[in-house]
Symmetry: C2
Subunit: 389 residues, 2 copies
Amino acid sequence: MLPNISQRFSQETSGLDDLFTLSTQKEVISFAAGYPATDLFPKKQLDNAFLKRTNKKTQQFYQYGSVLGADNLRSEILTKIALTKPQITLDNIMLTQGAQQAISLLAELFLDSGDGVVVEGPTYIGALEAFKLKQPTFHEVNLKSDGLDLDQLENIVKQYQIKLVYTIPNFQNPTGCCLSLAKRKRLAKLASRYNFLVIEDDPYRHLRYAGEDLPSIKSFDETGNVVSLGSLSKILSPALRLGWLIADQALIKQLANLRLALDCQPSNVICEMVEQYLSDNDLKAHLTQLNQAYQAKKETMVQCLKKYLPSQCQFTNPQGGFFIWVTLPKHIDSHQVLLKNKMVAFIESQGLFVVSQQKNHMRLNFSNVSDKQIKKGCQALGNCIKEML
Amino acid sequence: MLPNISQRFSQETSGLDDLFTLSTQKEVISFAAGYPATDLFPKKQLDNAFLKRTNKKTQQFYQYGSVLGADNLRSEILTKIALTKPQITLDNIMLTQGAQQAISLLAELFLDSGDGVVVEGPTYIGALEAFKLKQPTFHEVNLKSDGLDLDQLENIVKQYQIKLVYTIPNFQNPTGCCLSLAKRKRLAKLASRYNFLVIEDDPYRHLRYAGEDLPSIKSFDETGNVVSLGSLSKILSPALRLGWLIADQALIKQLANLRLALDCQPSNVICEMVEQYLSDNDLKAHLTQLNQAYQAKKETMVQCLKKYLPSQCQFTNPQGGFFIWVTLPKHIDSHQVLLKNKMVAFIESQGLFVVSQQKNHMRLNFSNVSDKQIKKGCQALGNCIKEML
């Protein structure tokens, strides 16, 4: 007989597990996971970066690197991608195994059982899974079209001791909304005033198809109360497993010590290769190409939803990112839509609202499906929902 | 002001941090870290594997993979490297970010504060750091020349509720000793009888320069109470960050769900490339080459220690692995040797004995230093110790 596992765990399967399973079943059209388009990876440039760098570094290419990641790579990321503010230096950034590891490192460092965590309702299920390992007390804040309801947030932080506030400011997963400029400023101030840490998870910042870039929440942070996360998974390649975390130097030091004990360090092979890629290529041109392609896919999905969804449904038309958020009539459970319709996978909403458990929404991903699949899938969903009405 | 970090953490720096810092200071001869020899990486073959596989897989090479790692790669590892027993199938193996992540996943899944963990005295500092995150109650079992003192272990598991027993059966880090065949059988039986989990951490199994291979503890496990860990870091390249964990299917499922929440999955680029390497190359021939080179380095260090250390010191002469263990006279503190001698870095012993905190030993690594450095370093250490006597 095995010893008991920690009392922190139930025997339930993970929401992420279901998500990855859904996304790989070949017979279904998957609007479920958030995979970037396979045909848009800059394969030739990445291959070349590998070759050039392994020849340059010779044997050292395959040796251990450092826990933070090489200085030059972190510098390239700071100047070309993270775009925070001039005061942010190499001492403020560490690489992580995707942004997912950045979230779990912060959860590990800060949270004891019962500690207060604020999330958006709805939010990214992977963040919820990472926080849940620490058994925190969750508070859910409503999302408006301009992001988090900050009045509601302020009431919560006045009433309860909150350690972490998790937000996705750009093209939020799953709703696609953006946090307004005024709210970014106010959120940074609230964090400082009420001594909580804002986790600004920002993987979609550069996937803007329309409208103007907004400065990061971190750029308004005067007191170190904002940590900003980024990732190459959506804009370059998820197989690199390369994310980063920008924070005060003392916090970086603590998180780096933690990472040493958890998995030592990032892959030096990957770090070297990505540094070469960023140094040799025009990332902006690549992003322009991505955004044109994703905008077209999004337009196709918006047109199909207009055409096929019954009029009682609402859906967003985001200016960037990977997701459209559909709101069904209150009495329709998206889980039932999943079960009834056997052709299209998507993310049902219940698990994304950690407190309110709202059931009448669907997250639809358009980034890695063809126009034909989008059309066929939207039609099938529309028919299914019409039957249920 | 930031919120408080978890009460689980002190502000102390990590032992691993010191270790990596020591190993990268250029002015010192480092016998400290356990880096494999940089000039022995099969660079050309690894480069070729990358190229061949990225051409074969085309764009898919850069897409998400799976949380367990690709079936074919896990199968190659099972048949060519892990060598456990026929009943072990693909359902029993998951890839990890180095063996370090395997240890931290097991700690995360099983341990609550105060739970009993048995480690060898001395043991691998990275395992201690991973366990310490969970604030367990440590028990230390003496090492004899044939490994763990199992009578002492049986007394402990009779008296206390123990969840995990961590052991490095081959060329133990830091002492270089091997667990005898009889003890491997008995340890598997004890685990089954007293319901604890054995973590068999086995990164050095294939680095045997002399003597006969011993079957793994896992091969004597009838009840799923042994989990076996392996890694490519020492035998192929640490920059791949590729380890694995072999366990019962139900446990693999739980650990995979955990990994999803922590960092999602291994790098598909790395998995694809390594699968190609293992399929195209003769790993045994590579290991033979490694072992000849490491044996020569070890012999050089043994000869130098004989020549330069005062006769009051003892040291091991291991049949494999990366380390020689030096025992100084009782009153000499290896930390003082580190401070006094400014030329040679090594691992002092106090932190490796989690309970007894013995100070009079040194771990010397010979795998990534030249003969000249070995000679110069041993001479300096010998002189320093002679002065202290």
